[in-house]
């Protein structure tokens, strides 16, 4: 236990208690008054944090504290109760928002500094009233995990929740998701929800929702608008540029987080986004989208999880691929260099993997452009070794797709055929000029 916890226990201090502390500064005794704050998770714990009357927090060295006196115990504050669901308005479409973790809205306790997620309908209606003018919104928290902790089992859960909502009469579903792995989830849902008839929109925020400048509310507003649209696809909706002007709707299999922190981090790669979403309208950027229609939405969630991504780089050893093969992996997506290459030394290892029945798919670490294994000799050798060149698919999309394909067949020829079949917009037939760095 850290010093601060020990100290708080010894003096029976609770968070929010008003205390008066006498502390030695050299040979002078200084007095401080304030509210006891929760100890910081990652600090060494040598200090007690108090919030002064002027709102500022300071840390006081516990070893220098002469005396602590509780002036007033923290009042038991009533737990705020918010309505889970609000009455439906006639004539508005119905949209379910599935929460998977992270916060799309928060409440800030200026007394203690704590930030609480806000996810009931009532809270959302207060924080982002615009969405309730567009739709009858029903929020539902289905899990609470960090985006980096996402895994295939969760994708399946999300897919089933989406289908359940859509099949129960909702007009669209929005999935609030952490941004780190949102692209992977979007891909997974694209393959699992094969016969979509309504929009499924993933949305997140790059700036936390407790701050006035957060992108969260605008992204959510655009996402709800897109969820009521005619586009029956899995999409990611996020800021289109650093300004709060419009969002972009990206096809779920073609989108990638391209910046660690910017609002407009999500970009369509090798493809044109489906739509621009303005404050008051949707501007469609293409016509080849799947239209809203009738019909039950099914979930095809068979996945082979023994699949890995392997990056080619100067000096990479074939042992890594051998290890995966030995460990029983069924598929590997290689992020090759340039057109999709690996070094000459690596090729025999690919050959061995394929011989042992492992599907080896090739994408490019350039991300932009299409792989082509016919141009250079190492490419041709790789092709001869049995690697599957994945056209202009993103490595992450190829990874998710390979899991899904291997969940359906283990016949190498069938795997190859399926990998090269376009199921959800993951492969474009030809490379458009206007899709690079935009």
């Amino acid at each position: 236990m850290r010093k601060v916890e020990e100290f708080m226990r010894k003096h029976n201090l609770g968070v929010g208690d008003l205390v008066r502390i006498l502390k030695w500064e050299g040979n002078e005794l200084l007095a401080f008054e304030g509210l006891v704050m929760p100890p910081y998770e990652l600090s060494p714990g040598e200090t007690l944090t108090i919030k002064l009357d002027n709102g500022y927090n300071i840390g006081i060295l516990i070893d220098a504290i002469e005396k602590v006196e509780v002036l007033e115990k923290a009042a038991k504050r009533p737990r705020m109760a918010f309505q889970e669901v609000l009455p439906r308005k006639e004539g508005l479409p119905n949209v379910t928002i599935l929460g998977t973790g992270g916060t799309i809205a928060s409440r800030v306790d200026y007394k203690t500094g704590a930030v609480h997620p806000a996810f009931t309908a009532e809270e959302l209606a207060k924080a982002v009233p615009e969405i309730f003018e567009m739709a009858n919104v029903t929020p539902k928290l289905i899990m609470n995990i960090l985006s980096e902790d996402m895994k295939p089992a969760y994708w399946k859960r999300i897919a089933h929740e989406v289908a359940k909502a859509l099949n129960s009469g909702e007009d669209g579903v929005v999935i609030a998701h952490g941004t780190d792995t949102m692209g992977y989830t979007a891909s997974a849902l694209s393959f699992m929800l094969g016969n979509l008839t309504k929009p499924v929109v993933l949305v997140g925020a790059q700036r936390s929702s407790d701050r006035p400048s957060s992108d969260s509310a605008m992204n959510l507003t655009c996402a709800v608008r897109m969820a009521t649209s005619d586009v029956a696809e899995v999409m990611v909706v996020m800021h289109g540029e650093t300004s709060d002007t419009y969002c972009l709707a990206h096809r779920g299999t073609k989108v990638r987080k391209m910046h660690t922190s910017r609002r407009d981090a999500f970009r369509s790669i090798n493809d044109v986004p489906i739509a621009k979403i303005w404050k008051d309208r949707i501007e469609l950027l293409r016509d080849d989208y799947r239209r809203r229609g009738e019909g039950e939405v099914g979930v095809d969630d068979r996945m082979e999880e023994k699949v890995a991504i392997l990056k080619a780089y100067p000096g990479v050893s074939g042992e890594i691929l051998d290890f995966l093969v030995d460990r029983g992996y069924k598929g590997v997506v290689i992020e090759g260099t340039g057109l999709g290459h690996v070094s000459q030394d690596f090729i025999p290892h690919v050959e061995r993997a394929v011989q042992e029945g492992v599907a080896v798919c090739v994408t490019s670490q350039c991300l932009y452009g299409r792989v082509n294994l016919n141009v250079y000799s190492n490419g041709r050798k790789l092709l001869r070794a049995g690697a599957i060149p994945c056209e202009d698919m993103l490595p992450e999309t190829a990874y998710v797709k390979l899991m899904w394909v291997l969940g359906h067949t283990d016949d190498p020829e069938e795997v190859s055929k399926m990998m090269l079949t376009n199921y959800a917009g993951e492969i474009t037939p030809y490379t458009r000029f206007d899709t690079f760095l935009r």
């Binding site: 200090t47 709102g55 300071i58 006081i60 930030v115 609480h116 806000a118 006035p212 002007t245």
Partner: protein
């Protein structure tokens, strides 16, 4: 000196809040802290008020947001970065800024905290891109001793400066990003200042401590001094934007005067038995009366389809026109409030005037059935605007019944103040969780304490002792912030007396003739460099600076060469001396050494600033001796 007021009797209380920029990198990113007019990119954002714990949102702020207020930011690639356009989490804080602020803390007898916690202070006027200002208390419990008694410094904070405002339009505000993030040290005192002069002493002391670090920014806008002033029975008034130290006592005196007079007005209204309920938002349309008015303002408003509205202020006659500060009346305060909507108002105490006739005034009096102590205020504008303006007037009138309204006011150049906005509410703050807390180990603090910079007063004394320069010269060097340059020059080998007299006497002497502030430290260094290399005589400094002030884009060397101020070689000097001798050969032959003075004078006329006088003297003497 006889004083205008008995401040003790009035119960004067003044507190100071001083902000000063530090000359370091930005607080949360290593971006240079500089301002530049170059705009490389523009983007726009909106700020949404955050929901509180109880699920509440400030309704006024939400209303503003819904109206679609936009903030436009202008940025420069070099002077801002992703942190400051709120596209990347903060770095830092800048270690140097932290260290300088701790030095300042010790110089103000304050005690650094054991652990610094940066907070987010919500600000949604757009001046901070993130919607909050990052700020932390770094020290507490300081004090300044003055002849009137000790004044406490409860907190010293380190925080980020905000964006510069470029333009405020109806639905959008344009900001420049370069200033955002420059570290600011904020020093506030307790309201224990009881005399206007005492406030100046305290401000000077704090200013000296700041400057002692040699790490604070200098020049316009780098220091902001706010005053909190109240008298017994009055109200706390926050006065913003006091630039000059010398203005502080006058501004306080004027504020006392304002509060004293407002209290008198309140008492008089009370004696007249004015009932607050009678001061109502009841507006009368008096457009009819002004159909053929000679008042251009009113005529124009009517022509544009506007109305003339009047409000009755019972018991206010004579008091709206009462002077409360030199040149400012209660009516001025009403007009300041209404300024949000209209350019101006008309009140009965200033009429007839401005083209409004006595006949029109009487018609309004009759229409509003005013008694002889009752007043009216007129506004001519589009009806809705006129109503809003008059509502502000009524609000201010009601406050006059109470005495002094709490306000934030702006300091005017003449020492008066003007309404700016209501006093801000309590700051909404919560921890900045993207920045780890900073523990200040005692060893680190001890090291800073043991190496504190000298205070300006100590420096003056040292100069007098160490360099034997005149005390007043030393004081000017320090007060004009020429001390750092002075020491640098002395270190390079310039005689202290010469360095001091050039920096103080020569430069200040030119002030009336040329814009001397254009002469940079770089210019001055360049000139002394030439002197050290024997390229110019000390007489040349004046001419060089004069020229540089007019052409600041030039270097000292260029100016010296162009103006022929560089010293001539000994041969050249001898040649010119020979010339003078030849021209005056007859006189020399006649007078011998008796011609020395005259020849010397003629030679120096040609050589001043270009040759050492001693050399010329030796040469002239030698030549005359040779000839006679």
């Amino acid at each position: 000196m006889t004083e205008k007021f008995n401040y003790e009797k009035l119960g004067l209380k003044v507190g100071l809040e001083i902000h000063r920029q530090l000359d370091t990198k930005k607080l949360f990113s290593p971006v240079p802290s500089e301002l530049n007019e170059k705009v490389d990119f523009i983007f726009e954002r909106r700020l949404r008020p955050t929901m509180s714990e109880m699920g509440e949102i400030d309704p006024a702020a939400l209303e503003e947001f819904k109206k679609g207020r936009k903030y436009i930011y202008e940025g420069n690639y070099e002077l801002t970065d992703l942190v400051y356009i709120d596209e990347e989490p903060p770095r830092g804080p800048d270690r140097e800024a932290l260290e300088v602020s701790l030095q300042i803390a010790y110089l103000l007898n304050a005690k650094p905290v054991d652990e610094v916690h940066f907070m987010r202070k919500i600000v949604i006027d757009g001046s901070n891109v993130s919607g909050f200002q990052r700020t932390a208390i770094i020290a507490m419990n300081g004090k300044v001793d003055t002849p009137w008694g000790s004044v406490g410094i409860p907190t010293i904070c380190l925080e980020e400066d905000a964006c510069r405002i470029v333009e405020r339009k109806e639905k959008e505000v344009i900001y420049r990003l370069d200033r955002l993030g420059i570290p600011l040290v904020e020093i506030s005192t307790t309201p224990d200042i009881h005399h206007p002069e005492q406030a100046k002493v305290v401000a000077k002391y704090i200013g000296d401590a700041l400057r002692a670090t040699r790490k604070v920014k200098r020049g316009l806008g780098t220091i902001r001094q706010d005053l909190n002033v109240s008298i017994r029975g009055g109200a706390r008034i926050e006065i913003k934007g006091v630039q000059e130290l010398d203005m502080i006592p006058l501004i306080i005196e004027r504020e006392v005067e304002r509060q004293v007079n407002l209290l008198k007005i309140r008492d008089e209204l009370g004696e007249r038995g004015v009932n607050p309920e009678e001061v109502k938002e009841e507006f009368h349309d008096v457009t009819e009366i002004f159909q053929n008015t000679e008042s251009k303002i009113i005529a124009r408003a009517i022509r544009k389809g506007g109305k003339v509205l009047a409000v009755r202020l019972p018991g206010f006659r004579g008091l709206i026109g009462r002077e409360i500060q030199p040149g400012r009346r209660l009516g001025t305060e009403m007009a300041d409030r209404a300024k949000k909507y209209v350019k101006g108002i008309f009140h009965i105490d200033e009429l007839p005037d401005y083209g409004i006739t006595e006949k029109e005034v009487n018609a309004v009096i009759e229409k509003l059935s005013l008694g002889e102590k009752d007043a009216f205020v007129l506004v001519a504008a589009e009806e809705e605007t006129a109503r809003k303006a008059l509502a502000e007037v009524v609000k201010r009138a009601k406050e006059a019944l109470e005495g002094v309204p709490e306000e934030t006011r702006r300091a005017l150049p003449d020492g008066n103040t003007q309404y700016m906005r209501p006093l801000p509410g309590k700051a909404r703050m919560y921890p900045e969780t993207d920045i780890p807390t900073i523990f200040l180990p005692s060893g680190y603090k001890e090291r800073i304490k043991a190496n504190l910079p000298e205070l300006p007063q100590e420096r003056v004394e040292r100069y007098v002792k160490e360099y034997s320069i005149d005390k007043s010269l030393a004081e000017t060097l320090v007060n004009d912030e020429r001390d750092e340059l002075f020491e640098e020059l002395v270190k390079k080998g310039i005689k202290p007396s010469l360095a001091a007299s050039v920096l103080v006497v020569v430069l200040k002497g030119l002030k009336k003739e040329v814009p001397i502030e254009k002469v940079t430290e770089e210019h001055i260094r360049g000139a002394f460099e030439l002197y050290l290399k024997g390229k110019i005589a000390k007489e040349a400094f004046e001419e060089i600076f004069k020229e540089l002030a007019r052409n600041p884009e030039k270097t000292a060397k260029q100016v010296a060469e162009e103006k022929g101020l560089t010293l001539l070689s000994e041969e050249e000097v001898e040649r010119i001396v020979d010339e003078v001798i030849q021209q005056n050969i007859d006189v020399i032959k006649a007078k011998g050494m008796g011609a020395m003075g005259m020849i010397m004078g003629r030679a120096m006329a040609k050589l001043r600033g270009r040759a050492d006088g001693k050399l010329v003297n030796t040469l002239v003497r030698k030549k005359i001796q040779e000839l006679s």
